[in-house]
């Protein structure tokens, strides 16, 4: 490894990225859009879980009086929405746009028999003002125990996944696609005619993208935290380690994809085939608890799964090095395998 040559390629790649205003602009704008999206979606009070339409001659006044007399209309997390047309409101219930509908003047209500939310609301309506039909107590004999603790909001669970997903797209497309473009245009062929080795070239690509990913991920983290104020119970250094190892594994995967391909269209297709299943099966948006065991095992093949698991453990559970050692080892192994295969399979032409 000749560091002089490595640094020359690293410098050239960094310069190319920084001078490409459209790419640079997108890489700065995309995180800002993500932060803005989160700020808009998750700031303020928690969102209501159920939507109930209220129809009456004067629904606001009627609702206010009902709130004094019936507990159901004081239930938290139910949004009561005054409606003006009964027929159109019933259609909304049919289409699951409203979970329940009350005609307060005629003392009627509608639920959709196919709606789980409607079912729950009806149970709440029936049980809110009466003792349940159990023998000893409303809880069926179960003794109530309480715990206290800070709420982990969905957004706090989501943030590690979003950060990792952004890393994934930047790593796969920012490295894999660029190398294929270099090969197609003849840049690699010209470099091959010099003493520059494949290892020096590939290492420079990894480092160049790594610092960019870490910088952008840090920016998203700081910006999102400013607007959303999410939890971070673990060590920032450990989180940096997780993201660094994760980024290296994803960049290496991008290098592996780009090892021989000379068609940007084919590379784009393969990168999409890799990134979309990872996005949906690695637990970015929802937990894999309860999914078929085969899906859960399949997810373990993706580096993104291990990055997200480790990041969530650090940020939400405050896990230490020992708590995420399995994920770190897996990510290290994946990086080594991808890099080794990528270097062996790499062709300049």
């Amino acid at each position: 490894m000749n560091w002089h040559r490595f640094l020359a390629v690293l410098k050239a790649r960094n310069r190319e990225f920084i001078r490409d205003r459209s790419a640079l602009g997108w890489n700065v704008m995309f995180p800002l859009l993500i932060v803005a999206g989160f700020a808009f979606a998750f700031s303020g009070k928690p969102m209501d879980l159920y939507k109930v339409g209220v129809y009456a001659a004067d629904p606001v006044q009627k609702l206010a009086s009902l709130r004094e007399t019936q507990a159901f209309f004081r239930t938290d997390y139910i949004q009561f929405i005054p409606v003006t047309g009964l027929a159109s409101a019933i259609t909304k219930v049919e289409r699951h746009q409203l979970d329940m509908l009350f005609d307060l003047d005629r003392q009627r209500y509608w639920v959709n028999r196919d709606s789980p939310k409607g079912y729950i609301l009806e149970r709440v309506l029936r049980g809110a003002d009466t003792v349940a039909d159990t023998t000893n107590s409303p809880t069926g004999g179960f003794q109530r125990q309480t715990v206290t603790g800070r709420e982990i909001r969905y957004v706090e669970w989501l943030i590690p996944g979003i950060l990792a997903m952004n890393m994934m797209f930047s790593a796969l497309f920012g490295v894999g696609y660029v190398i294929v473009r270099y090969r197609k245009s003849g840049v690699l062929r010209r470099l091959q005619a010099t003493p520059l080795t494949a290892l020096e070239f590939l290492s420079a690509q990894v480092v160049s993208r790594l610092w960019l990913i870490i910088a952008i991920t840090s920016g998203i983290y700081a910006g999102a935290n400013l607007f959303i104020d999410f939890s971070m119970f673990g060590s920032y250094l450990l989180l940096l380690l997780v993201f660094t190892l994760g980024a290296i594994s994803l960049i290496s995967l991008g290098l592996l994809v780009a090892a021989r391909i000379a068609s940007e269209e084919l590379a784009g297709g393969i990168l999409n085939v890799l990134s979309w299943p990872m996005m949906f099966l690695s637990g970015v948006w929802f937990s894999l608890e309860g999914t078929p065991p085969l899906i859960q095992k399949l997810a373990l093949l993706f580096p993104l799964t291990h990055i997200i698991d480790a990041a969530r453990a650090v940020m939400i559970d405050g896990a230490g090095l020992a708590g995420i050692s399995t994920q770190l080892i897996v990510l290290t192994l994946m990086s080594a395998i991808f890099l080794l295969l990528g270097a062996v399979l790499f062709r300049w032409k």
Partner: protein, 294 residues
């Protein structure tokens, strides 16, 4: 002169096709050697094997009497037929980057002066004209102060002025003592620049030698060219070796005086007469029976 680079029985196949089929030649130090031939003759593949970019299926390449190794890259300067540089890179930055790959480099000022780059040193390399770009690529090929310079069709696509400018640069490089291996399908270029040429077709060398010696060896006549309209009758009825090329009639002649007398006897006007010596283009036609597929 000592042989710097020796190729022996080089073979390169692509599937069932032998793109290069038993090519051998030696490159003497300080000379300019030209590989000529039409597109698809195997020139570029031969060059790539010598450059170390492609592996030969058979044959041997020796540099200074030893098999070509990794260190050969430090002594070789390569100008590809088509090359792309990274985007957003200025001329100066490209020279600096390529210079940093080598243990020995040509001083930047000398490189800039030799290849006349000073006017656009800080210009994005994508914004250069064809001629300027070729000068930059030549400078990159010279950045490591190479012993052997490979130039693969360096003037293809250039206008006549840019082509002559590049020829002047190549002559300067040769005058500095560099050894040059040049491929081209421009016979005029080979005649102008090369000490020795080899003509390739269908993957083989069909003849080699100095341009003048080859022409002297194969031809002892000149060509008289006349406009077709200056011959009143059918040109083929003239008692001379005549060939019609569109609007031009060519007559081969070992004795110009006799040929001209014959033309005057047949009332042919000599107002548009031109006399030229035989060229490498004619040699290629004579050897292969086909015109250059440029």
């Amino acid at each position: 002169m000592a042989v710097l680079l020796q190729a022996t029985n080089l073979v390169k196949r692509f599937g069932d096709v032998a793109a290069v089929n038993g090519v051998s030649f030696g490159l003497e130090a300080g000379t300019c050697f030209g590989l000529l031939g039409p597109n698809g003759a195997g020139k570029t593949t031969t060059l790539e094997m010598l450059e170390g970019i492609a592996d030969a299926d058979e044959g041997e390449i020796l540099y200074r009497g030893k098999p070509v190794g990794a260190e050969f890259r430090n002594d070789a300067g390569i100008m590809f037929q088509t090359t792309a540089l990274q985007d957003y890179m200025t001329v100066r930055e490209a020279l600096e980057m390529f210079g940093s790959f080598y243990p020995r480099t040509t001083p930047m000022a000398e490189l800039i002066e030799t290849c006349a780059l000073s006017e656009f040193l800080d210009r994005d390399s994508r914004k250069l004209s064809g001629g300027q770009r070729q000068r930059l690529l030549l400078a990159i090929a010279l950045v490591n102060d190479p012993q052997v310079v490979f130039l693969d069709e360096p003037t293809t696509g250039l206008d006549p002025q840019a082509r002559h400018n590049l020829w002047a640069l190549v002559k300067r490089i040769r005058a500095q003592g560099k050894t040059i291996l040049l491929t081209t399908h421009y016979m005029e270029e080979a005649y102008e620049l090369c000490d020795e040429i080899a003509i390739m077709d269908h993957g083989k060398i069909i003849t080699r030698g100095s341009p003048k010696a080859l022409l002297a060896e194969h031809f002892d006549e000149v060509v008289l060219q006349l406009p077709r309209a200056d011959i009143l009758g059918d040109p083929d009825e003239l008692p001379l070796p005549v060939t019609v090329h569109g609007d031009t009639v060519e007559i081969l002649s070992r004795d110009i005086n006799t040929t001209i007398r014959t033309l005057l006897d047949h009332d042919v006007s000599l107002a548009g007469l031109q006399i030229r010596p035989r060229t490498l283009e004619d040699l290629f036609l004579a050897l292969t029976g086909e015109a250059l597929r440029a």
